[in-house]
Amino acid sequence: MDKLNNEFTKDADMTKATFETPLRFERPSIISHVLFALFVLFFLWSTANAGLSISELLSGFPNMATIAGEMVPPATDRVWPMANAILVTFQMALVGTVIGIAVSIPIAILSARNTSPHPIVRHITRSVVSFFRTVPDLAWALFFVASVGLGPFAGTLTIIVDTIGFCARFFAESMEEVDPGPSEALASIGASPMDRIAVVLMPGAMPSFINISLFSLEKAVRSSVVLGLVGAGGIGAELAVSMEMFRYDQAAMIVLMIFILVFAVEQFSSSTRNRLLGQSK
């Protein structure tokens, strides 16, 4: 027993001699200091270029109060045309999102690391999706308005492209995160890649797919409101006309309707997510 204790003490001494308690925080390197200093300088320059001005903000307060005063009470004289426009806005968002999601699934399969047939295919599809995502939706709307004319079709096309840019990327990432074990198990018995995608990856990624799709719908509803400002149909066009004609009371009614639509979609999305994903736990 004494021998054992001696051995233990010897080991403990060695450990003490060999290892020191590490510092709580690593000292930042010179490069980190330089980068931080550069960031601070760039931020200060940016505030100047962003036009931040306390005096202009203070002088704008009376105008804000005037406009806010003219917004109350919201006008009810054009409620039905506005309700129709908000319905079209939602329909654009819904159709665009559903078609966008349907197109995103095969694109995601081609661009996910564990499902893509070839690295070149993966890089091409990823680049296309990245391009769809990085071009702002207003730029797409202007492009489609110029291509197919004013109206909701241009807006729907914009939402399709925007949804593909969003969903295809996140669908691919969620398929890459699925546990590879079951896929390996099916590969070991000779199942085809298509079988493995359908049987393992799609069910495995389904909770993420549902989540991403619902967020995508929320996003599409919000952006479809703005698309009308450039002539792509929906309530945005009504809002632009009201603001140009200084009918702030009508604009207030439109903003109220937009709030109700976005709030309703978010509530629906949230309850659907809880119901579908709650069951899967």
Partner: protein, 265 residues
């Protein structure tokens, strides 16, 4: 460690490929180019209706060897003959045809958690019939569903057919994985540490199930295990990987707990 090998029972050296179900010759594998191999020049044969255990310490390359036998991991060199067919040059559909005959049970079960037990068992039929008919039990042909229920009955889980796999215990999941392998009607069953994630009682039950399948169905079993008692009790032969070599290939009854423990020393 070569003193543990029983030269009289080194089956692989004396038996031709034609009479063995699986013959592995000169198999080597390393993961980084020019690095020390995980194992090299591995030779062994497995015969029909045999139960063979592969033992070795962590990192010895047991799981890699098992996967190399099916080319789920590509070996660097060596030849693999399965049921009289060399598989080292096969690819695509012809390799799949060989894999169809091999059931594989993994340590972590590898079931699709969100699907039902019955659907998971039916996936075993993808070995022979690919496509949507075998993706979900709702799409499957009646005879396939009935055969899947038979497989579940063999592992004692027919009453859980509609339950989701993520609601099963570890032991039940492993039984479902075995039922999926049985659905393939395999010639040989590979099992990679099938009891490692289970409690001792469940592990014992799984090994007894394997023993029954070998005895009653004439199945050939090749399993990796850290449990020496399981190796001695349930295997006819034991292979041991140590220091990058297959240093033991012996019938089990000539081995003891003490002699096999040396592989973990």
């Amino acid at each position: 460690m070569s003193n543990y090998a029983d030269p009289s029972s080194l089956a692989s050296a004396s038996v031709s490929a034609a009479s063995s179900l699986l013959q592995v010759s000169g198999l080597s594998k390393s993961f980084d180019n020019n690095s020390t191999p995980i194992f090299s020049d591995v030779n062994f044969s497995i015969f029909a209706s045999q139960s063979v255990a592969l033992i070795g310490s962590n990192g010895a390359g047991k799981s890699t060897l098992l996967r190399c036998c099916l080319r789920l991991i590509e070996p660097d060199s060596g030849s693999i003959v399965f049921d009289g067919e060399a598989i080292d040059k096969k690819s695509g559909r012809s390799l799949s045809k060989v894999r169809n005959k091999v059931g594989f049970v993994f340590q972590k079960h590898c079931l699709v958690p969100r699907l039902s037990v019955l659907s998971n068992v039916i996936h075993g039929n993808l070995a022979y019939c690919q496509g949507p008919r075998n993706w979900l039990h709702g799409f499957a042909r009646q005879e396939v569903r009935e055969r899947a229920m038979d497989c579940l009955a063999q592992v004692g889980l027919a009453h859980l057919a509609t339950k989701r796999c993520d609601q099963l215990s570890g032991g039940q999941s492993q039984r479902v994985a075995i039922a999926r392998a049985l659905m393939q009607q395999p010639t040989i069953l590979f099992a990679d540490e099938p009891t490692a994630s289970l409690d001792p009682q469940s592990g014992q039950e799984i090994m007894e199930l394997f023993e029954r399948l070998v005895k009653d169905n004439g199945l050939t079993l090749f399993f990796v295990s850290h449990n020496i008692e399981h190796a001695l009790k349930y295997a006819d032969r034991v292979l041991g990987l140590q220091e990058r070599r297959l240093s033991l290939d012996s019938v089990t009854h000539t081995q003891s707990l003490q002699s096999l423990r040396a592989f973990y020393g």
